[in-house]
Symmetry: C2
Subunit: 403 residues, 2 copies
């Protein structure tokens, strides 16, 4: 297993090195950290193919990939947990309706534009509706990290983006359930399955919020009296992991939504500052750079060349659909044009949620390999576009915190 | 992959809970954390067999096990890195010869007693010599963690134990090479292969120490000026991982020896205190409890009942061989009887190194399944005996640091 240590060390060093370079060039560190992964996965470096990593006792490539993915998924949870800890609920409540309508616009626009694009390209209604659903899911982790760096997470727009991302997650799941129930599998008793999804979501959010508000403060108070090193941190991290697991297993929403929720609930306790500092050390020194480099590692640069008319349109809809949809939603709630643009740009990034839905469609024969790889391209491009875009639409208060 | 989050959360909570209970009962936290894993693996709980962890999209049991093993191996590296950071080289230098002779006695006694036991039980010379070699390898991580807790790591005996563990690792590898070259495979050109092992070890230690002394301080100074969050920690962790990898890949010694060495070298820099604090947060909140619980998770309580005469003798030799051998070595270098006993007890723990050698022997047909599972029993029992024993032979300055 020693070769794992080397691979992790190389990912860490490359991510931080290109991250620092990125900051020096005036971009967020996130961009460089992702590009470090892209460079290491490109065919001329191809880290995971290095021959001396494949001795007789070495991990199989599949095992290595699974372990890196596990570290990376833990990383994105801790990142969203941190974003939750740094969330100011009072500020977020003030922009609640803007967040709601931004999310609604950001689901509606890409959904309908995507479906229309599918029909135009000659796909039937079920497949077209599924393409639309694919384009709805925002993945806010890259945005959250960029905003933390730009010290804009607690700005009006930052709070609106994070609020909208949670609502978007819920709406996206409902949109997908709706597509599955009405167009893809109407025979499976559509209405009942949508009601079941809604009931599970309600149960999850009610239980998670209720338990958090009632028990997090006394739990940490009690735990912090135990004579065990770092036990308060351990308790908080374990709760974050349980909230993430139950978000998926019970609430039908993404694990990162659960991690974010746990962070928000801990931010209401008297341990907020202490946890923020310690989780920051924990996350930024190890898990977050691995997560970001791993995002880049999954990019196949070779596949980026195959952009035909359909792919180009899909990309445009993916990007403009969020900017226009979310932006209009925020604008309708009296955000200025500049603020609305910022919210829209912050919601561009897609990430793994879109890919998970696409795999679902691929494995059930709803979409084919072509659409799947086009969707992968959308994830890659939106992920890289987001930190660059945010850098230009937000005023910079100075990049990155010093150590 | 969400089920991984749940399993990790349960391991973390169980480990810290039983750890705190253990402290309350007057034992080191380590003991409770290992027992948490033992309880979770026992057939009536059997964590990894829980049916709802095995849905259609869930990780396979093999993948889950590999990921937990990876987290656990990272944990033991960070633990030894921390022990290195808290090592006082001046104090260790003063007990250098005691450490050397303790290590020598702790290799010679178990080796010869084990070989004699093998011959007595009717095995041939090659197998008996291999049984002897199996019993030599100390795994000092459990001891290091216990001594950190007892605030005894920097004591005279603590320094002697850590020094002896490194020397023991080198001697153990040489003893095994010697057995392979002279008794098991004399046809493979024995002398040349021993010389090659010696040369690689020398190269590794010379390069690792030379590079560390020369470059760690300027490296961290330079890195800490970059505008990137926690980049100094990342650099230190990456170096720890590279030292661990190269310890195995180049130096033929255990990865934890490399991690410890990296820690010792960083302890000579001006970043010592800062790194110790941050690595402590990082390690104790997450990786170390996972490592300790995972040690326990691998225990099959059911297998503990099968102790026949041979197994009992093997266990006695494993425990007494170290106490007597290491103790005499230290005593010869003018340690008091009480101090010598402490050094001997600290060296009892075997851990994964013994199992790795046993797997090597099993896969090449040198030993059979019976000896292999007896060796696994030795690892389990010595691992549990060590923290209990240390608790009684060391004066307690108060257990565990507060958070």
């Amino acid at each position: 297993m020693a070769e794992l240590f080397l691979v992790v060390a190389i990912l860490l060093l490359a991510a931080k090195l290109l991250g620092a370079l990125s900051v020096r060039l005036g971009f967020p560190s996130v961009l460089g950290e992702i590009l470090a992964g892209v460079a290491l996965s490109a065919s001329f470096l191809n880290l995971l193919g290095w021959p001396f990593l494949h001795g007789p006792n070495a991990l199989s490539p599949g095992m290595m990939e699974s372990i890196l993915r596990a570290l990376s998924e833990l990383g994105v949870l801790f990142l969203m947990f941190l974003a939750g800890l740094e969330t100011d609920l009072e500020k977020m409540a003030k922009v609640g309706w803007a967040a709601f309508w931004a999310a609604a616009g950001g689901v509606a626009f890409p959904f309908f534009s995507g479906a229309v694009l599918g029909l135009w390209a000659g796909y039937g209604l079920p497949v077209s509706a599924f393409i639309g659903a694919l384009l709805t899911a925002t993945s806010v982790s890259i945005t959250a990290q960029t905003l933390l760096e730009l010290k804009q997470l607690q700005s009006k727009e930052g709070m609106a983006i994070l609020g909208a991302a949670v609502i978007d997650d819920v709406m996206g799941v409902l949109a997908l359930s709706l597509v599955v129930a009405t167009v893809l599998k109407p025979e499976a008793g559509g209405a009942a399955s949508i009601l079941k999804t809604l009931a599970l979501m309600t149960l999850y959010f009610a239980a998670a919020i209720g338990l958090g508000r009632r028990f997090f403060e006394p739990l940490l108070k009690k735990v912090s009296q135990a004579r065990s090193t770092q036990i308060t941190m351990t308790a908080a991290l374990a709760v974050c992991l349980i909230y993430s697991w139950s978000a998926e297993a019970v609430g039908q929403v993404a694990g990162i939504t659960g991690a974010y929720l746990a962070g928000v609930l801990f931010s209401r306790t008297s341990f907020r500052e202490d946890l923020t500092e310690r989780v920051g050390i924990f996350a930024y020194s190890f898990f977050v750079p691995i997560f970001l480099a791993h995002v880049g590692l999954q990019v196949r640069v070779e596949s980026l060349g195959s952009a035909a008319a359909f792919t180009t349109l899909l990309l445009l809809i993916a990007i403009l659909g969020k900017i226009v949809g979310c932006g209009l939603g925020a604008y309708a709630m009296r955000f200025t044009p500049a603020e609305s643009l910022r919210v829209g740009v912050g919601m561009i990034s897609r990430g793994e949620v879109g890919l998970i839905i696409a795999s679902y469609g691929l494995s059930r024969g709803v979409i084919d390999e072509t659409i799947f790889s086009q969707m992968a391209l959308v994830v890659i491009v939106t992920t890289l576009v987001t930190p660059i875009g945010l850098r230009f639409v937000f005023p910079s208060k100075g990049l990155t915190k010093p150590i």
